[in-house]
Symmetry: none
Subunit: 214 residues, 4 copies
DNA sequence: GATGAATGAGTTTTCATTCAT
DNA sequence: GATGAATGAAAACTCATTCAT
């Protein structure tokens, strides 16, 4: 807040306007997809003139990229924070799942957009964007992996898989459960109880003796 | 093979042409994305006239849908077969992961296209297509869930989570590992070794005593 | 009939085929208009291959022109015959109106097409066609005018207008009444009773005394 | 004129541009026919970019419909006005024929277009347009019929035919004479002298005694 | 001689971007 | 600085015509 005070009013106004444009664009892109939204629509929805939008963003592509980077910022900050707060690895992972759930819920409309960017969409809209977002995502995964690693080193966890693989597994499961919940919120359990997800990794599926036999 | 012989030559020619068009379209779509490829480009790449393309596919959308339904077919058949072959639940699930890996590898470019264009598959290219694909996917998930259920009922598996959740978890993990492999084939273990994935679910992460304490 | 016998079978077959194509084309053109009918449709409807159609007609335009000339032949023969049969001018004009009505009824589907050709459709589909049809139409009008002229010369008719104008008036009235009848056959009187039309010209609308005052 | 002053300049400019586009379209359509004119040609002729044309008219069809509705408006207003001004029925009908002639002359090119494209106005370009135009035309005919009816009721006219038929007859005659004039303006009498047409209905063609014998 | 698959020029329409006001 | 009208390249798609079989 004190940080905002430092900015001259001009600057603050510009930032607010920028956010309003981005908000309108997010709505539209997530409703209809990048290619089915025209700059004119964004102008109408945001109640700015189309020329004004081009004052803020050099092109439609740049607007989209800004959007995704903003979103990615929000995501990775929340997840990084969750993974560094809490006393035990278990606590940290629980926080992670909770934070992921909350961020999903808070950004329901853009989540799909975001997931497609952090997945295999190589040629996506702009190659560069892709790389940036994936780098950040990679950072979160590595942090998560280090939590698993620490849990194993402190003998809290069994060494059942490479920590990075565990991180990847946990993340993908969370995404899958969250997407289910997005589609049918009442039928799927996710966001209230992180343990539904954690247990799948935490508890052993097979009895120790039989597992050994496999 | 003898089956092909049965088709009149005309028919065979048409099928081959159709495949050539689809192949050109896959190449282009996965290089540049659905919206950045024009029908004229597909015509050029496939060395047919644009009108000929339209003899085979009523619209660009239908061409895309054919691609995706073909892909979905291949997955559905391979995975259903895998889940119904094998003596034990463990065997079936291992087959499942293997089949998924193989089908993925065999169809890398269409998959890349699917991932980039489906964007979480809501506004996708055509809503109808999406529904069809999801129905098939749901069928596979339910089949997988029934394998887990059977394993639990026969006391082979611990009852650590709802079978459908286990199915979803396994599937999403496989997808995540496959996407990694897609990005850097040499660094990632998956498709060769299904146990890397299966172990995460099969072995217990926590000691029994500590798990109880949670 | 004896004339047809003279033609070798080959020739007769060709003529029959030609008629079948023209019949299919008439149906389609009158249903949808020249520009909304494709050669493929004509091929399908007539059950000939498209290549075969091009054996008979050099182009779509030529097909259309043949159609119109055939139609125009039928029309002008019928009308010319009517105007030359009958003892008195009144009889001839009555025959004319009757013949026009019958030809309309027999060719309901193409009438509109034909009327638009014999009207102001200068640039129509092919300039040349237009001229030919209009020349024939002009011939009928002149024949009709000569009947009026004869009626006046024999003191049967009052000399109320130039014979050609009378011919034009009668013809346009007949067309207008027939078009009405085409649209709502039960509401309009036309083809049964030619006198509904003839009376408008035949009887005086104004009393003799008042007419003089005008 | 003062009315135009009231419009903001922006609005006036837009209207002028719209008119320029319509004028270019009329020229081209009446030169070559609706289907033989491309939107790009209209853009070139009117010296606007193609996109600009689409700012004013949603589609080629709408552009055409605007043209026809404008024409229909002009006729409807002129004819309605003519039929309601003048002291006697005779005066009104004379006004009607004059107004029809004048409007025809003022709009020769659009009329030529209408005649060629409407093809009897059934499958026309757009069914809806046709309905609208015919409704207006019907209104004029009914108004004209009421003038005839009034003339008969006031014993001014003989009751020689149903008033609606008289209206239809007069109108179709006017159309026919006007079309003649359209083709060869110098040879045909129409627009200067309405009585050439009116007399055909007004004066009795046959002597009273002979008419009775018919 | 008949066939109908293949052709590709030409059509309508959209929309990111510019720039005069 | 903001505006939004004008632009025109580029896209999806149609269909008269040809010609190898």
């Amino acid at each position: 807040m004190s940080q905002e005070k430092k900015l001259p009013r001009r600057e603050r106004d510009r930032l607010r306007q920028r956010q309003e444009i981005l908000a309108a664009a997010i709505e539209l892109f997530s409703e209809k997809g990048y290619h089915n939204v025209s700059m004119n629509e964004i102008a109408e929805r945001s109640e700015f003139a189309i020329g004004t939008i081009y004052k803020f963003f050099k092109s439609k592509e740049e607007l989209y990229n800004s959007l995704m980077l903003d979103l990615s910022d929000r995501f990775h900050q929340a997840l990084t924070k969750a993974l560094t707060q809490g006393d035990s690895p278990v606590e940290k992972l629980r926080n992670y799942i909770r934070a992921k759930g909350n961020t999903f819920i808070d950004n329901v409309s853009v989540i799909r957009l975001y997931l497609s960017e952090s997945r295999g969409a190589r040629f996506s809209i702009k190659a560069g964007l892709d790389a940036e977002i994936r780098t950040r995502y990679e950072g979160v995964l590595r942090l998560s992996a280090s939590v698993f690693k620490h849990g194993v080193e402190s003998k809290l966890f069994n060494d059942i898989a490479h920590p990075y693989h565990l991180a990847l597994a946990l993340d993908s499961m969370a995404n899958a459960f969250l997407l289910r919940w997005l589609e049918a919120p009442e039928e799927h359990p996710y966001p209230d109880n992180p343990d539904v997800i954690l247990n799948i990794i935490f508890k052993g599926l097979l009895d120790a003796s039989e597992a050994a036999a496999q």
